[in-house]
């Protein structure tokens, strides 16, 4: 096999680095004693921060080596975990997206994290955590995973352009305000289009929750397995109705399905003055605007006259897989806890925009005046704090979530090709029922 020069150079650097590190490691620790913990995640843009965390933990605990690997999208990461588990070699800790909660439980791959903590006597004060994510991941009284990167949707807007148009977006905008702003700004020729957002389920879910509408029945899947999804609800109709209006008037610029990066690019290139995104993109959005314009943020827009119920928790949590030796299980559990400790939570929040999972984190940062310089980080947090607890905001638990995700995207695409909202939602309702029924057929 041909060896490339780069290979050799890298090998040489690696050897030199190892030699240097070995000088720092206490002499009585050999490599054989190292416990290796593998953490698989789906953090693309935020990947480097995860790497840093892994390195930091490894550095603080010389007997432990944490390898954090980016495995692609949440779907891909989940699939690869299944694959690895079947091969007998799953990673210890996996980041699983919130919507896959039911599927994760059904897959039999994971141990409820609370059980792991109990087994090894690791005590965690759950009271310190923000309610919303805890409510999401606690099912049937047991906490299955530890919340880690939680997020909600917010609206990023280009303050510089808004200023030029003599406008400003209010903190808690209604649909009509956004449409009006788009109309004025595009009309003044300041940008090509009005708003963009990636074609994903995220925003739809949160419109539903904001209007106190469960996504599925059986109380959003929390008291039993659901049988259908509420695509025919008023909330769904109004959400997609607004989308259709934006599309018909030429104010919505489509980045493509699941194209978070492209949406950001459109915003950064000032093709649109507004973008719906996850709070997890705060740093990324601010970076893309550096030197060009000022970024402001507001809550997710809701239909006119709606009393905001609040947002559901998006993002993902850390799950632990079965089948590792005790030493590794315990170490992995401690790693998971460490990742949500105050210092790490604050750092994670500051470097990305995901919520700090601990209640007090926000207070600490406020005292330090950090939010004065980073007002955008604060927006989503406030939106979250104002959320009223209900089944809708707790989030849906349904096994066929992947199918439903595809259906939500399907409705967007149907509307963009001229299908009426009613027709599209009728089809969506049918498909969701089929998908849920099919899922139940195979797990019951």
């Amino acid at each position: 096999m041909r060896r490339v020069k780069g290979f050799f150079l890298r090998k040489a650097k690696l050897v030199a680095a190892l030699a240097a590190i070995s000088l720092l490691v206490p002499a009585n620790l050999t490599l054989a004693q190292k416990v290796t913990i593998r953490l698989w995640h789906a953090m693309g843009p935020q990947g480097p921060v995860v790497e840093e965390l892994a390195k930091a933990y490894s550095f603080q605990h010389p007997e432990i080596k944490v390898i954090a690997e980016f495995k692609g999208s949440y779907d891909e990461t989940f699939l690869k975990t299944i694959t690895a588990a079947k091969a007998g070699n799953p990673p210890h800790v996996v980041q699983v997206v919130v919507s896959s909660t039911r599927a994760a439980i059904d897959s039999n791959l994971f141990v409820p994290i609370e059980d792991v903590f109990d087994q090894y006597g690791i005590s965690v004060n759950w009271e310190d955590f923000i309610d919303a994510p805890m409510n999401m991941y606690r099912i049937g009284g047991r906490l299955y995973s530890i919340p880690w990167n939680s997020s909600s949707p917010i609206t990023f807007w280009n303050k510089s352009i808004f200023d030029k148009a003599g406008l400003s977006l209010s903190k808690k905008p209604y649909f009509s305000e956004v449409t009006e702003a788009a109309r004025k700004i595009v009309g003044a020729g300041l940008t090509k289009s009005g708003i963009t957002w990636a074609l994903v389920k995220f925003f739809f879910e949160n419109w539903m929750s904001n209007m106190d509408q469960n996504l599925v029945d059986a109380e959003n899947g929390r008291i039993g397995r659901p049988a259908k999804a509420y695509f025919l609800s008023d909330a769904a109709t109004r959400s997609y109705g607004w989308f259709k209006q934006l599309w018909d008037e030429g104010f919505y610029e489509s980045p493509g399905r699941r194209a978070w990066g492209e949406a950001k690019r459109l915003f950064g290139a000032q093709v649109v003055p507004m973008a719906l995104h996850s709070t997890a993109g705060t740093i990324a959005y601010e970076q893309t605007a550096v030197g060009k314009f000022e970024v402001s943020s507001s809550y997710l827009p809701v239909p006119d006259g709606t009393e905001r119920q609040g947002v559901m928790v998006g993002g993902a949590s850390l799950w632990m897989t079965k089948g590792h030796p005790d030493a590794e299980m315990e170490t992995a559990a401690r790693l998971a806890v460490w990742m949500t400790d105050m210092a790490q939570t604050i750092r994670w929040h500051q470097s990305t925009g995901y919520y700090p999972i601990k209640r007090d984190a926000m207070k600490i940062l406020e005292r330090e005046g950090w939010y004065v310089e980073h007002p955008n980080h604060r927006t989503a947090l406030e939106q979250l704090m104002e959320t009223k607890p209900s089944r809708a905001t707790q989030g849906a638990v349904v096994g066929a979530y992947r199918e439903i995700h595809d259906i939500i995207i399907w409705v967007y695409e149907a509307i963009m090709e001229g299908t009426s909202v009613e027709e599209a939602l009728a089809e969506a309702d049918k498909r969701a029922k089929d998908a849920i029924t099919e899922y139940r057929r195979s797990v019951e």
Partner: protein
Amino acid sequence: MINKRKRIFLIQVCLIVCSLLVAAPVIFAVITSTQTPAEVDSYPPKVTPGSAGLARYAEVWRIGIGRMMLNSLYISAVVTVGKIGVSILAALALVYFNFRFKNLVFFFIFITIMFPVPVRVVPLFDLVQKLKMGDSYYALTIPFLASATATFLLRQHFMSIPASMVDAARVEGVGPLKFLFLVLIPMSINTLGALAMVTFIYIWNQYLWPMIVISSNERQVVQLGLKMLRPGEAGRQDWALAMAGVVIAMVIPLVIFLLLQEQFMRGFALSEEK
């Protein structure tokens, strides 16, 4: 009646234009790979080499696509050699030996031409996990080592070798392996070259199977690397980067193709010279 010279000239021009048209997409790709993001976005599109030079290639290599290319090279080489080896032995047995069930065995191997990889992918995935070969080079190579096509073609080719050579060998008491190496292989260079090219490219281009069975980036093949570079994936926005990946993914099979395409033509009896 068009002047004969004009006609020839016209044909030549057409040939050149068509070749350029066929090559155009790839030419664009290569040019784009040298452009900076600003140049890629520029309007009208910039069709000349950009100022980023080879920077994208360094980046693509750094990200891990280079490693993937080496993976592809490794498995393609292994399977090419392995599959041809396995099939040559099979053809040798089927043509130069007489034993019960000979035709049945040939049929048995040949029928698998109707079992393409995508059809088998679901249970193959499961099987490979059971054999503890998941996420490994073994999974990418071993299932490909038996081939209906290669066995068939080699068998056919062997059968076209004049009986006189076979008789001469028998008279001289040459054993089967010696016969293979001293007579059969030298007489099969075209077929072997053709099979080598086809196999190499076939394995290099595999997409669905590696996508399913490989979960770690270190063992992934370069085709999947292209997907990872696509703008829209995980925050990627750089078309120049993607095009650099394309070039990296295409160089080696292209070289193999150019080296062996003559053999390929002859081996499949596709060219005038025999």
